[in-house]
Subunit: 299 residues, 2 copies
């Protein structure tokens, strides 16, 4: 199987029907941006031996690669539009692997109404490396960042933690989230700040606290946990939910809006003016010791 | 040096002063797109042991990574705006390497008026891997592809071939191209089709011929060659020039426009209706045998 055959047979169907991808007949894609909209961009890389194992199911690799980008775009208040896919293989993958990998991308992108606009297929000495850059749209000036959390904001998560970590530990797949476009609209409508929690809840809430010059108080008992030890769930990552920082007078509306789109939100704590610290509170309001490893660091 | 220190100290200066990058304080960048403009996208990956050697000068790696994307954007008629940078290291790079790599990116981006909008820094088992997705702007509907070449079009290259190949063989660096924005405007104004020739002239002209259902006749003596064996220069790649397919009645204007922006263009052949074949003609018009290896294939 040549590089061009591989692209034509397995990757081109991810772009088919979308004029922007130009039939993969050019080195560039061309995207229309409606007047009054702006572009939201994010990039996530997954490497074999670091982000997944050598024999990880290609369906899981595809889902992790796409969803880690999707949750970033949604947390930024962007409606996902398309993605550039760079894949580097150390040997020509067999057709079974390619079929499973690309079918999983197709399932997610169809559920989420996005497409592959282009990319690059290369060879590499060892392992497998996947980099996706995803592009979303949002009304101009409506971008949400980590830096806007305000004193008194409630911290809302959009789903239960631990499912991702547990499923990946067992080598199982997870159904694609279904509420993406509406999710970005809810983020834009209610959040002062937002972050995806795919690196682990504590680490990612910590990023918002630091960027916003707030402290975060999290109520462990209020955090929705699924099928996992709570202390593992809050550091495990791989949950493609979002944490929103929402003004107190909008939390009720925000919770209803999230429920309406099929999410299972919960208020798990709040921000107060501070210096980026996190405290974790037990059932009696006592401060619990934080886990030592709060998220992944590459170096 | 932690991941966050590395990003703050070496990569953040590539974004500084550009609000779109949001101070690298969020997982997303937000780009303004002027009304009436569309986005042009491209992605190129470079892997150690495949696209460069383990001990290749980081300046050269940076230049190859950025310029391979730049030439794609320009060939598509796009004015380069910004790029997402994904870098995967197998060990923490030393500060000398990081300084040289990021300074080279900064030199090119300052000369070319673009910036780093974001990216991802990860670890990998072996080697070094760099993926850049570059974003450009162009007037809506003005995108140039490989597929538009017409019967009788002249084939124009925008500079001498062989410099890139020769310089990289010697481990030398090449000055950044200076005429990028005007280059995209010339491509949009005169070209029916265009392609960058970084994979090798013959391979890339072949792509245009196939996408446009044309045959290409190239006059070897007319191809500007610098410091290299001609047969090597036309397959070597690493020249970040562009090949344009230009209607006969516009070639004189196109050549003048290219000279005006500092390029050294030459007419090197023409397209005729056909099936994607290339012929290479000698001084007496005789057909020369094509080199066997006409461009890089990963698999």
């Amino acid at each position: 199987m040549s590089e061009f055959d591989m692209i034509q047979r397995y990757f081109y169907p991810l772009a088919q029907g979308h004029e922007a991808a130009r039939g993969f007949q050019s080195d560039t894609a061309a995207l229309q941006v409606p007047d009054g909209q702006q572009i939201v961009l994010t990039t996530d890389t997954l490497n074999e031996g670091v982000h997944f194992f050598k024999n990880t199911n290609p369906v899981i690799i595809a889902q992790k690669a796409l969803r880690s980008n999707l949750s970033d775009i949604m947390a930024g208040g962007g409606d996902p539009l398309c993605y550039q896919l760079a894949v580097a293989f150390s040997s020509t993958p067999d057709s079974g692997w390619l079929s499973a990998f690309t079918a999983a991308l197709k399932t997610d992108q169809d559920a989420l109404d996005l497409f592959c606009s282009g990319g690059d297929t290369t060879s590499v000495q060892v392992g497998l490396s996947i980099t996706i850059t995803m592009i979303g749209l949002q009304p101009r000036g409506k971008g949400i960042t980590r830096a806007g959390a305000q004193d008194g904001d409630a911290i809302i998560v959009t789903g239960a933690l631990g499912e991702g970590y547990s499923a990946y530990q067992r080598g199982e797949t997870i159904a694609p989230p279904r509420h993406h476009k509406d999710m970005a609209a809810v983020v834009r409508a209610y959040a002062n700040a937002a972050v995806d929690i795919s690196d682990g809840l504590l680490a990612d809430i910590g990023h918002v606290a630091q960027a916003s010059l707030m402290d975060a108080a999290l109520d462990l008992g209020a955090i929705p946990i699924s099928d996992c030890d709570p202390m593992q769930a809050i550091v495990g990552g791989d949950d493609y939910h979002i944490a929103l920082s929402v003004p107190r007078d909008k939390t009720a509306q925000c919770l209803r809006a999230l429920q309406k789109i099929g999410a299972h939100p919960a208020i798990i704590g709040h921000f107060v003016k501070g210096r980026g610290q996190i405290s974790l509170l037990g059932d009696a309001g006592e401060e619990l010791e934080l886990p030592k490893k709060q998220g992944w660091q590459h170096f």
